[in-house]
């Protein structure tokens, strides 16, 4: 058996075992899950050097799994994130029930993702795509009764996506009689233009749903919000990246072969841009931290899609860079939010506040997370954003770059609100006894924080695998050094200098201000503040959290008025209403049924020749 076989085997058998173990030996369950994900990580790394290939004949198809640089990139992402989130889940989920169910589906989702990224043919891709979908659906509905409609929405949209994939797959099959990726790629240019266009559109649609591009994003806020936090981290960090994985494949392996590629690029890039902008606006007005992060996630995936769609070496590099980074920082943010939830039982930003002194590590994680998201140097986010802007400007997408910039500036708003509401602000009595999250939850968060810091200083470290996988996608070369980024005009940004400058100034000033009598100062509570002479009472709530961005909301009110979600809900409700009427075709009255028979008979007799033809 080679590594890929091990990975798939271990994950799926492990998933089944955790379920059984949960009922037999509940104590071993978490250890088993952690073990499975650790083994996965080991074998995923093993697979990189091994160049494994698996061919399996099921039904009439050859299912092929293989390691390519592109696959490895995503597999490592999944494996690392899977391992960390399972580690995190150990304490987070400890007080919950139905853990066998939880871990089983968690591992199924993981296994599904491994199957997808390594697959080299569309059957196995779709096979695992669906496994991943239902496993994640079952996790979305894990929590409670409220999750049911949300889960259903998630499933319906996933099904729409999956079935458009499936239509594309059956089309490809009927066009070329084969579903192996290498084969299809080489045959693709032989298809007629309209077929190419339909296939590409359907594939993009299918993958697009998972990466929540507008207007197919409506499932995401709810699903991210309601799923248990360890899974949300994986969901947003890795699972949604499967869409990105597919889009990259479709764009550069298929669409790039045809003449209309530039139109596909433009349309997709603008969809990405609008997704980024609108999702950011929606994120600003959320009152729940997890929902905020959910919208933020949608927006970030918008950037990634722009990067892929533009298709210059630098933009693809930025997209893949952001893919990895987003996995890290969104996991960090969801984990930090989860830690808050774990200790306070809520993620409502209007009620939680001032946790910084109680949960310092979670705060640091959240801080690093938001700095990375915002793209402010010196953390990793800057490199990604920088490459994206440069490539957009240099590939002459002038207005798109404005949209992207507006979106990422507006992102400051929700990021600040997120960290301010949860960790800063007034320290309320209600949260006086809150403690830092358990060690096993803190460790994954800190690991990821360290990662974004290192990547910020030395983006070249992950640009190496990225440039390898870009060479797999096509002939994309770009210039970079371990800590220096170059754009196409040859201008550079030297992260080393930047970090040295920032670090030095920060340290010098920081030390001066600290040694200048910090010891003498005493900490005063957040009630002891300047309030124009009024003395706030202990029980008085001074937190400014409700309608935090009301002025901004007023400024952009016209944009927010229409909601695609409402339209979908309207359609769904009308359809259900229609179905409800339709079921009265079956009146329950025998006479009616008899009448149907007679009616059908006379219809057939009347139009017999028309229907059955004369050459019977």
């Amino acid at each position: 058996m080679n590594s890929i076989e091990y990975i798939l085997f271990i994950t799926f058998i492990g998933a089944g075992l955790t379920f059984i173990v949960h009922h037999a030996l509940p104590k071993l369950r978490d250890t088993l899950a952690i073990l499975v994900s650790a083994l996965d990580l080991y074998f995923v790394i093993q697979a990189i050097s091994e160049k494994s290939k698996v061919v399996l004949s099921i039904a009439d198809f050859h299912l092929i799994w293989k390691t390519t640089p592109y696959n490895n990139l995503f597999a490592v992402l999944i494996a690392v994130l899977g391992f960390l989130t399972i580690l995190y889940a150990h304490d987070f989920m400890s007080s919950k029930d139905r853990l066998g169910y939880f871990y089983m589906n968690f591992l199924f989702a993981l296994g599904g993702m491994y199957g997808i990224v390594y697959s080299q043919d569309f059957i196995s891709l779709f096979f695992f795509w669906e496994i991943m979908t239902w496993a994640s659906f079952l996790l979305v509905i894990y929590c409670c009764k409220d999750a049911q409609p949300i889960g259903l929405k998630y499933f319906v949209f996933s099904a729409i996506g999956a079935y458009s994939l499936l239509i594309a797959i059956v089309m490809l099959y009927s066009l070329s009689g084969n579903l192996e990726l290498t084969n299809l790629i080489s045959n693709f240019s032989n298809f007629s233009v309209s077929n190419q266009l339909i296939v590409v559109t359907l594939l993009l649609l299918g993958f697009g749903v998972k990466s929540a591009i507008m207007p197919l994003h409506v499932w995401a806020p709810g699903a991210y919000f309601i799923s248990p936090s360890p899974f949300t981290a994986l969901f947003s960090g890795a699972l949604s990246k499967m869409g990105i994985f597919g889009i990259g494949l479709v764009l550069f392996k298929f669409a790039a072969q045809s003449g209309y590629f530039s139109y596909v690029q433009i349309i997709l890039a603008w969809i990405g841009g609008i997704t980024a902008l609108l999702a950011t606006f929606y994120a600003i007005f959320q009152t729940d931290a997890k929902k905020l992060l959910a919208y933020s996630s949608i927006g970030q995936l918008g950037y990634i899609i722009i990067g892929l769609a533009i298709g210059t070496p630098l933009s693809i590099a930025s997209a893949l860079f952001l893919t990895i980074l987003h996995a890290a920082f969104k996991a960090m943010l969801f984990m930090a939010t989860g830690a808050v939830y774990f200790r306070t039982g809520t993620t409502d930003m209007n009620s939680v506040s001032g946790l910084i002194r109680k949960m310092p590590f979670s705060f640091i994680t959240a801080l690093f997370g938001i700095i990375t998201v915002s793209g402010v140097p010196p953390l990793g986010g800057f490199a990604a954003k920088w490459m994206l802007y440069e490539s957009l400007i240099q590939s002459r997408h002038y207005f798109l770059v404005i949209v992207v910039f507006a979106a990422s500036t507006a992102a400051f708003l929700y990021l600040y609100r997120f960290i301010f509401s949860l960790f800063l602000g007034q320290e309320e009595k209600e949260w006086e006894d809150v403690k830092e999250a358990p060690l096993l939850m803190v460790i994954p968060m800190l690991i990821l924080s360290a990662f974004v810091l290192v990547v910020g200083v030395f983006p070249g470290l992950i640009l190496d695998p990225i440039s390898q996988s870009m060479n797999y996608l096509g002939n994309f070369n770009f210039n970079y050094e371990t800590s220096v980024l170059f754009n196409e005009w040859g201008n550079q940004v030297d992260m080393q200098t930047v970090v040295n400058t920032i670090g030095a100034v920060f340290l010098i000033v920081g030390l001066i201000i600290t040694f200048k009598g910090f010891k003498k100062t005493r900490y005063v509570s957040t009630k002891d503040i300047h309030t124009s002479g009024e003395i706030p009472q202990e029980n008085e709530n001074l937190t400014y959290a409700v309608d935090f961005y009301k002025p901004f909301e007023r400024a952009i009110a016209p944009i927010l008025k229409s909601s695609i979600d409402k339209i979908y809900t309207g359609i769904a409700n009308n359809l259900e209403q229609a179905f409800d009427y339709l079921r009265y075709v079956y009146t329950g009255n025998g006479q009616t049924y008899a009448m149907y028979v007679v009616f059908f008979l006379s219809l057939l007799i009347l139009f017999a020749e028309l229907i059955f033809g004369i050459n019977l």
Partner: protein
């Protein structure tokens, strides 16, 4: 060892059961099991022979086309195996489920149903087909009303009403055929059908479509089905969905492919299949009762099968058979699980199922499993058959049905998952402590395992589908073997 056993043994058992019932109630319950076990064994051991070369059994010494023949070809081999195996599982399930008197009548009717269904599949004679059809139908009417309540009786009456249309039209068609070409042997008719004037042939076709379409649950002839499925005892629902309807579809397709194999007829089938599928799935969406919902789902699945048959290419027919196989298994599983869920919740309503997943984890698990499988999600067997149907339909250039099939799949997913969500995630307090009997669990367990195994190794079944599909499509071979064996 002869295909005759498939008909003779259960028929004999059916007559024997009331007599034995006078002696021992327990024996009544066991005998069908033994019979079905024997038939399963028989079907599996005959399978390779039948697939290689059709066995044509001549009854009473008259050679075809004058005598009645049994035609045990690949497709018959496949269907009898399916019927007997599903029948055995249903018996296993019924063993503890049917505790209400009169059990001997239940088992007698059950045996008659098996007789009729295998008879339909095996016979090479159209009048004989009609007779078996009547056996099946009458048994089915009675089983629908088995609970002897008001709803059951009403449903049975409706079934009877519509069923009598079916019999009448079918018989009329046979009469017209006989009047024109003086033969009742299917192979013989197939070779002589062109002798009948066109308008008469059209009329025969219409009568057959109506007559067999009623049992095949084709829209708009399927009004009886939701009531019958939902009012009959749960194992009977499984019998209808898993056995009767499969036999009916087989007979319809056999006749159409033998006698009316033209592009227009096939197109008509595709269109009817799509309509059946869509209307059934849409109607299922807002059903209040779980078994009614399953009934509509069943109709929808039959629509899918009809589409696949209607495409009429070898891969599509193969896919249709595979789908029949999967549907028989999965729908039986769903009916089994639903039976106990209804039993435990004490109401047929879906809303009464809230939180049963906590009290009845295993039964609920089976239902959830079946739901995922029937939606066509991997790694369950339903995935492959749906995939094959889509591939073959697309291969024939029919993209619109592909899209419609997938839309209906989404609807299907919605209503199944709603129920699954209710089972697990609503209301949590325990209400009922009665246990699901072991025999029921074993029955469901067997189906689950098979569904999973076939999901991972579809070749196990698919392998046998190619000869079966060819058997259906190759009219010349049928005539050759049927007449001159």
């Amino acid at each position: 060892m002869s295909p005759v056993h498939f008909i003779a043994v259960p028929l004999f058992a059916a007559f024997l059961i009331p007599l034995i019932g006078k002696v021992s109630k327990e024996l009544v319950k066991i005998i069908p099991g033994i019979v079905l076990l024997y038939l399963s064994y028989l079907s599996i051991s005959l399978f390779p022979i039948g697939v290689n070369r059709p066995i044509v059994e001549i009854i009473a010494g008259f050679n075809p086309p004058f005598g009645i023949t049994l035609y045990y070809g690949p497709i018959a081999a496949f269907l009898t195996t399916l019927i007997t195996l599903v029948g055995f599982v249903i018996w296993l399930y019924s063993y503890k489920f049917i505790i209400r008197e009169p059990t001997e009548k239940y088992y007698m009717l059950f045996m008659m149903l098996i007789t009729g269904s295998t008879g339909i599949v095996l016979t090479g004679d159209i009048f004989n087909l009609f007779v078996f059809f009547e056996i099946t139908s009458i048994a089915a009417y009675s089983l629908t009303a088995f609970l002897r309540d008001r709803d059951g009786a009403e449903a049975a009456f409706k079934y009877l009403l519509i069923g009598s249309f079916a019999s009448t039209f079918f018989l009329l068609a046979i009469a017209i055929i006989y009047a024109n070409i003086h033969t009742l042997n299917l192979a013989d008719i197939a070779s002589k059908i062109k002798d009948i004037p066109l308008t008469t042939r059209l009329f025969i076709l219409i009568l057959i479509i109506i007559g067999l379409g009623i049992e095949s649950e084709m829209f708009p002839l399927n009004g009886w089905a939701p009531d019958a499925y939902s009012q009959a005892p749960s194992p009977v629902g499984a019998v209808f969905g898993g056995i009767v309807v499969k036999a009916a579809i087989y007979s319809l397709m056999r006749i159409i492919f033998l006698m009316f194999h033209t592009a227009d007829v096939l197109h008509f089938l595709v269109v009817m299949g799509v309509i059946t599928l869509l209307i059934a799935e849409m109607s299922a969406m807002k059903q209040q009762q779980i078994k009614r919902m399953l009934a509509f789902s069943s109709i929808g699945q039959m629509g899918l099968v009809i589409i696949a048959f209607g495409v009429g290419t070898e891969p599509s027919v193969r896919a249709a058979m595979f789908q029949m196989f999967n549907h028989a298994l999965i729908k039986s599983l769903l009916f089994f699980a639903a039976g106990y869920l209804v039993f435990h919740s004490g109401s047929k309503k879906i809303s009464a199922l809230d939180g049963l997943g906590h009290d009845k984890p295993i039964t609920s698990f089976f239902f959830a499993f079946g739901a995922l499988a029937i939606i066509g999600l991997p790694p369950f067997s339903g995935f492959w058959s749906k995939l094959y149907i889509l591939l073959s339909v697309a291969d024939a250039g029919l993209m619109v049905p592909v899209v419609l099939i997938l839309i209906s799949s989404i609807i299907e997913a919605v209503y199944y998952l709603r129920v699954v969500s209710r089972l697990y995630f609503y209301k949590e307090e325990a209400t009922d402590v009665r246990r699901t009997p072991v025999s029921g669990l074993v029955a469901m367990g067997i189906l689950t395992v098979v569904i999973l195994i076939v999901g991972f190794y579809p070749n196990l079944i698919l392998h046998w589908m190619t000869p079966a599909a060819n058997d259906l499509l190759d009219k010349a071979a049928y005539i050759k073997f049927g007449l001159f064996h």
